[in-house]
């Protein structure tokens, strides 16, 4: 087996793409970090692109090795009444609720 690694000849991910996916992932990334991140992600994605060598036209995707159908269970409430326990770890819990910055003007 050989792990030939591609030359980092082109950037498959640019700064704008990093900014876009960082926003989708809700991770703040400072402007000066965008370029180094683009280079890192491009390197990883170029290495990943060797998968294109594999002919998968007739192959069904596999989401999990678990091939059983999901089990049914009785549609009953079997747990609950734990508001205080659930709120206990919240950075900002108010009157039994999770509090967040104002969303609606």
């Amino acid at each position: 087996m050989n792990f030939n690694r591609p030359e980092r000849s082109h950037m498959s991910v640019d700064k704008a793409t990093v900014a876009r996916i960082a926003h989708l992932a809700r991770i703040g990334v400072a402007e000066e970090q965008l370029r180094p991140l683009a280079a890192e992600l491009s390197g990883i994605l170029q290495w990943i692109e060797q998968l294109n060598e594999v002919d998968t036209d007739a192959v069904a995707p596999m989401a999990s090795v678990h091939d059983e159908a999901l089990r049914w269970r009785k549609d009953v409430v079997d747990d609950g009444g734990k508001q205080a326990e659930i709120i206990a770890n919240a950075p900002d819990g108010v009157n039994g609720f999770f509090a967040v910055p104002k969303v609606i003007e």
Binding site: I21, A25, H66, N89
Partner: protein, 493 residues
């Protein structure tokens, strides 16, 4: 009696049963060894008071005639398992102060079997890493050092703290998790035995999720027998995990028959790497020789899609991680960084709370799942995953188990690979395929490198056939007669 921390689980079990030893004595000796281990940084949280209370309760149960499979045995718990009321960090800043209001199924099973909790072990952040250098709580040091060389080495990862606690003789066993090699690789680097059972064998309920279709819990111990005992106590069907397998739980210890007759062992040609150190190849050949001498038949096999396992993994795992880690939003638990509005609060919290490797993987995962790239990356990887799983299905029609090296090298020094993500990812080249295919695998120490570091061999078996995996591992363990241990240079005595 020799130091109690040198005892294996099965030896301690027998002494406890005879009344020659109490759990209190055994636990106290491990608590003091743990307290002297701070130079290794293997523990995020030590819980000596809980340990002593559990040990006393165990001694009381035993006095009344009750006894579980791990009655009175002190264990360390990877900080990825939720433990009720005890800080659970996943090695991440973003889980600051999180005290779960519930207990994971695996740890609940262990306490039900009588085990004692020593504390929570350090790990790569969210189990993303192969060196334990990504932990918010600092890197763990490998108890082992090269001959004549004092440089600190990595213990492997992500279960580096668990492997170190067991190798360093301050826990008799430790829970761990393995998404791409996170049990077997650190076990190989620390001279311990680490098993990732079949996907679905241990419940994932209450284990902080990384990549849900790959994550699986398993034990790290110092012998194959101890591993079989501990896995038996961890495993079992759990209705709270939709992917938990409702299958019979065999007596894994009984599988250690020492009998190789009739065994067919596959040796995959694709696991010969260009540039692999000669000592890894030599170790593998020794393992093949041991099994042949014991009476097994050795068969050359081919797993043609092996080279695509790592790139497949580095799409599937980050994709699942980007989804799983969406829950860390600064609202329900852990760290919150203020922001002018809700979105800014999310972005500030996640920027401050995630380290560079976690951020890298969440971004890769978000990218491969995003519109326009989903088919080219994620769907492609899912298709190649099926081919990799099919490779194993094909060869298991003609062999009972597969023998490979556990890792392509011995433990390396800090910083050696930290700046090159792909070099770090290549550590898991021999372990990742079993996660993609959901198969059980075990790493056991089989020899030392030229400079005195432990090297592991890996045994893979068909799904839900951990018995054959343990049987083959037991044969290798007996032939290898590995009884090296790190000098306990870190202890202040």
């Amino acid at each position: 009696m020799a130091e109690l921390t040198e005892l294996g689980i099965s030896e301690a079990r027998d002494l406890l049963a005879k009344g020659a030893l109490s759990s209190r004595e055994l636990t106290e000796s491990h608590i003091s060894a743990m307290a002297e281990s701070s130079a290794l940084n293997a523990m995020v949280t030590e819980t000596p008071e809980i340990a002593l209370a559990m040990a006393d309760a165990s001694d009381e149960r035993r006095a009344k005639g009750g006894s579980g499979a791990l009655e009175g045995i002190p264990l360390a718990i990877k900080d990825l398992f939720c433990t009720k009321g005890v800080l659970t960090t996943a090695g991440s800043h973003i889980l600051d102060g999180f005290r779960p209001p519930y207990e994971s199924t695996v740890t609940a099973n262990l306490w039900q079997a009588g085990a004692v909790m020593l504390g929570k072990t350090n790990m790569d952040e969210f189990a993303m890493g192969s060196s334990n250098e990504t932990s918010y709580y600092g890197a763990v040091q490998n108890p082992w050092r090269r001959h004549g060389d004092n440089r600190a080495l990595v213990p492997g990862g992500s279960s580096g703290g668990s492997a170190t606690a067991v190798s360093g003789r301050f826990a008799m066993g430790a829970t761990a998790t393995d998404t791409g090699g996170s049990i077997r690789q650190p076990a190989s680097f620390t001279g311990t035995v680490g098993c990732k059972p079949t996907y679905g064998r241990c419940s994932r309920w209450g284990v902080v999720a990384f990549a849900s279709s790959l994550d699986q819990a398993g034990p790290i111990t110092r012998s194959v027998r101890d591993n079989a005992i501990m896995l038996g106590a961890m495993a079992g069907y759990d209705p709270k995990d939709a992917t938990s397998a409702n299958v019979a739980l065999p007596d894994f210890e009984a599988a250690l028959t020492g009998d190789a007759r009739g065994l067919k062992i596959g040796v995959p040609k694709e696991y010969v790497l260009d540039g692999m150190p000669g000592e890894i190849e030599a170790l593998w050949q020794r393992g093949i020789g041991w099994l042949r001498a014991a009476g097994a038949e050795i068969i050359d096999i081919s797993l043609p899609h092996t080279k695509y396992a790592l790139p497949t993994y580095y799409i599937v795992a980050p994709a699942e991680a980007s989804s799983n880690l969406a829950r860390y939003d600064g609202v329900r638990f852990g760290l919150r960084m203020p922001g002018d509005d809700l979105t800014e609060m999310y972005e500030n919290t996640r920027a401050a709370g995630f380290g560079p490797e976690v951020r890298r993987r969440v971004l890769i995962g978000t990218y491969v799942l995003s519109a326009g790239y989903y088919d080219a990356y994620y769907l492609k990887a899912q298709k190649v995953r099926r081919l990799i799983a099919q490779d194993f299905r094909d060869v298991f029609a003609s062999v009972d188990a597969i023998l490979t090296p556990s890792t392509p090298s011995a433990a390396f020094a800090f910083g050696d690979k930290a700046d090159d993500p792909i070099a770090m990812y290549l550590n898991d080249v021999f372990t990742v395929p079993a996660n993609l295919a959901g198969l059980p695998g075990i790493s056991l120490p089989a020899g030392l490198s030229d400079d005195g570091l432990p090297l592991g061999l890996q045994v893979l078996a068909p799904a839900f056939d951990e018995e054959t995996m343990f049987r083959v591992a037991g044969l290798l363990e007996e032939a290898a007669a590995f009884n090296e241990a790190p000098t306990q240079w870190w202890r202040s005595r």
